[in-house]
């Protein structure tokens, strides 16, 4: 097994693809944390802990949930909203959860407002502007998610979580696979359960993101 660990950056300008460092994807029922395969249950706990610890925990919903392609997508969007609402209810004062869309993958030069939307070509801008120290991707096509996750790992110290609908993302620090409404609800429940048990990093110098 590889010694490489997928950790918050800034790693450097061009971080290696985690796959090229020997990180493999979880099998069904599993997840990974920092590139180490683990049980899904452990991943729920760790993701909830990271969210509750963060100063600006943020969910980035992508096109696959923002757009109502079909009934399943619309249901997932509702679950994403529920997760965000739960997060809002469970954080302490001083923490600022955010929900920032990735409506499509256009860089939208020169018009994009990185404060209110994110694109995979410059995700670091959105993270720097909003001082995001923990984020979760959901509903972003694999290739664009990998690109974004690598840029974030390269240029920021943000902790990345992927709620992936396929086989998981090795370039995130924590990744679920086979994302579903049930899994989103379970993550929300875990956050609720851990409410008040995790100390937010509000004053630590480590929470800032590089800019």
């Amino acid at each position: 097994m590889s010694d490489y660990r997928v950790l918050p950056g800034p790693e450097h300008f061009l971080p290696p693809a985690a796959a090229s460092m020997g990180i493999r994807l979880p099998n069904p029922g599993e997840a990974h944390i920092n590139g180490v395969i683990t049980s899904e249950d452990k991943a729920y706990e760790e993701a909830a802990r990271q969210f509750l610890m963060a100063k600006v925990p943020t969910i980035f919903p992508g096109p696959l949930v923002l757009w109502a392609w079909n009934e399943k997508a619309a249901k997932k969007a509702t679950a994403v909203r529920h997760l965000f609402n739960t997060l809002k209810e469970c954080v302490q004062s001083g923490q600022k959860p955010m929900l920032i869309p990735m409506p499509d993958y256009r860089p939208k030069y020169p018009k994009i407002n990185p404060e209110v939307e994110i694109n995979p070509n410059h995700p670091n801008l959105t993270i720097w502007h909003n001082k995001i120290d923990c984020c979760m991707f959901i509903g972003v096509h694999c290739h664009q998610a990998n690109l974004s996750l690598k840029i974030i790992r390269g240029g920021t110290s943000c902790y990345t979580i992927a709620m992936c609908a396929q086989a998981g993302h090795e370039d995130a620090m924590l990744s679920f696979r086979d994302a579903s409404v049930e899994k989103l609800m379970k993550l929300a429940d875990t956050i609720k359960r851990l409410k008040g048990t995790v100390q937010p990093r509000l004053t630590s110098a480590k929470n800032g993101v590089s800019s």
Partner: protein, 302 residues
Amino acid sequence: MSKERIQISEALYDIMPSDYQDLVKSATYGKEDRGWKDIGTSKELIEQHSLCAGCPESMAFRYILASLPNPEDTVMVGSTGCTSLVFPMVAVHNIHSLFGNQNAIASGLKRALSVRFPGRVKDVVVLAGDGATVDIGLDMTLQAWFRQEKFTTICFDNELYANTGGQESGLMQKGFVAKMAPVGKLFDKVRLPEIARESGCHYVVNCTVSKPSLVEKVIRNAVHVAREIGPTYLQLYTPCILEIGKNSMEGLQEMRDSEKPTERFAYKEYISEPAKQLLAELAAKDKERKAAAKQLAGQASA
């Protein structure tokens, strides 16, 4: 072909930037008779553009996007050049190809789309500069036509390589001196519309973009003919005002001057026999549809 497919998930509607909400609320996806007249009253499929102020390419873009008959099921293929600066702002699926490769990419794309979506009309439209179409990409351009690939090729002819500062292109006029071509062009402008016809294109037009209604007509024709019959080619004069030393307001006049009957962009059109037949059928259907709509409106107001 319907606007119903382009909907934002209700639970996340409020976080979508307003330009997306506007696209869903008031863009003309799915509108059968969409056209240039929608500009100003509905949401355009182009946000801001990053071309030079007054660049005629920006007018051409707006008219073309307003006129595509089926934007929600269209994929545009672009190439490097000034046009490629606009695509990041366009709300139609698009692919940026390696400079010159656009017609090869479009060939594969069109074939893949017909396999993947057999029951659905999917249009492919290439939009590239003259350098991409006629010089570096000429091989790909011609081979796609020889093979009768069913997509439209649009060339924004500004008669030079604008994006890299004014080098000589095959479509530059003889004798023209540009910033990076100081000797002056020694050869004639390549006769690409004629070559397109001889290479198997079924609908070919050479014109300027001074008249939006004309752009609308030729775009619709070109896309419909490509969909049903075979390759089509539009060569549109979009002068590079920066390189020919004009002000922002002078692009339109430059186009008007260049489309006079004896000038190089006098309207020129070639339509193959099968394409003529198709266009006649479409025109008849359109007439019928409009008459029926008029009758219905009359009944409703009576």
